[in-house]
Symmetry: C2
Subunit: 200 residues, 2 copies
DNA sequence: GGGTGCATGTAATGGGTTACATGATTCT
DNA sequence: AGAATCATGTAACCCATTACATGCACCC
């Protein structure tokens, strides 16, 4: 059997140790704070909160807001803290990534160089922007208010920084390599066209 | 709607451009050559090959072997090459990774430092071994027989190298950081126990 | 009145792993 | 005889995204 158990509920428990939140808040925090290494959709968050509440891992209470729609605030229960602690003690399984860009590059011989260059360039742009964002976040964690979690959040942000920096170095190297290949392909096709036209 | 379409069939087509192979072979090649950025289970490979054959994207023929069980060899058809080319031209979507180790580290304030240190140490060991493996693969691609795909395979291997190297630097930095935190936690609890015992 | 952000949910769909099932061949 | 590797396949299950559905409050 070995169910994937999947950590989706535990993320919610973990975030609720920071402070009580609504499902909507959790969605935002996941996207903005741990989005670079974890994400959850609302189609996952709301049902899981309901289940966690039904099983006594979290408490919930309705909150009336005057300027915004009402909402339901969840807070972690002792039973939830226990579950979180147990999960935290389990050795994390090395994840199996799926990198479509690398896959397409791997099959590069079947593709046009211009296309591949475009893919890598866009990756560099995207990840460059992300990197600058991480540097901002890391700086804020340094000077902002210190929570018990701050040192750990910084380590996670550093991971993003270091990894993105590595990716950017790879994009530079690969763009150079792709240019070399493009040069060769061009000269080869020139040769062939010269042959066809009886030149040289 | 926007079906995930998922690239699972295209990987098979892509690998079959290298040479005709059986489903079993494809499983091995996926694990050994592109396993660091893509993987497929046999429960995915066999049914997809069948579908690809039924739709005319690949051809298949039975092969009798005297020293091993019989097997079915698949080869890419012109229609399959077309499909592959179309897929290759589509901008790859940035993947959404799920890194359980980072997630647990992010909630580090709720865990024991010794546990976290163990996680990171094991990650360093695992990825260190993978890095050495990549260096070997990259060297073999340099000196081995040159296929049309070789330059691209090298780029993919370099990605693995560069990324793993970055990860290892992060593990070193993080282990140092965790040690600092452990020191603080110890002195804090010592202080508290001194207070309890009326020391100082 | 319409757009946007806040807020909560359900249902359909589907991708993918895991487990199960079977069998040949070779080596010890 | 049993273990290991080669080889192919199916079925169950489940995780997760996406789409759909609804409604409040606020501002232009």
């Amino acid at each position: 059997m070995a169910k994937r158990s999947s950590s989706s509920k535990e993320v919610l428990l973990g975030l609720l140790t920071i402070e009580p939140m609504s499902g909507y808040d959790l969605g935002q925090v996941i996207r903005d704070s741990i989005g670079h290494f974890w994400n959850e959709s609302y189609g996952q968050i709301y049902p899981n909160l309901k289940k966690l509440a039904a099983e006594g891992f979290v408490g919930s209470k309705a909150e009336r807001q005057k300027d915004k729609p009402d909402r339901r605030i969840y807070s972690i229960a002792p039973k939830g803290r226990k579950r979180l602690a147990e999960w935290l003690a389990i050795e994390p399984q090395p994840e199996i990534p799926r990198n479509e860009l690398l896959l397409k590059l791997f099959f590069g011989a079947q593709a046009s160089i211009e296309t591949l260059v475009g893919f890598v360039e866009r990756m560099a742009e995207r990840e460059g922007a992300q990197l600058r964002n991480f540097e901002r976040i890391h700086a804020e964690l340094e000077k902002g208010r210190q929570y018990p979690g701050t040192p750990y959040w910084k380590m996670a942000a550093r991971f993003g920084q270091i990894e993105l920096d590595a990716h950017l170095r790879w994009t530079q190297e690969s763009l150079a390599e792709l240019n070399k290949i493009a040069g060769k392909r061009r000269s080869r096709s020139l040769t062939r066209s010269e042959e066809r036209h009886g030149t040289k």
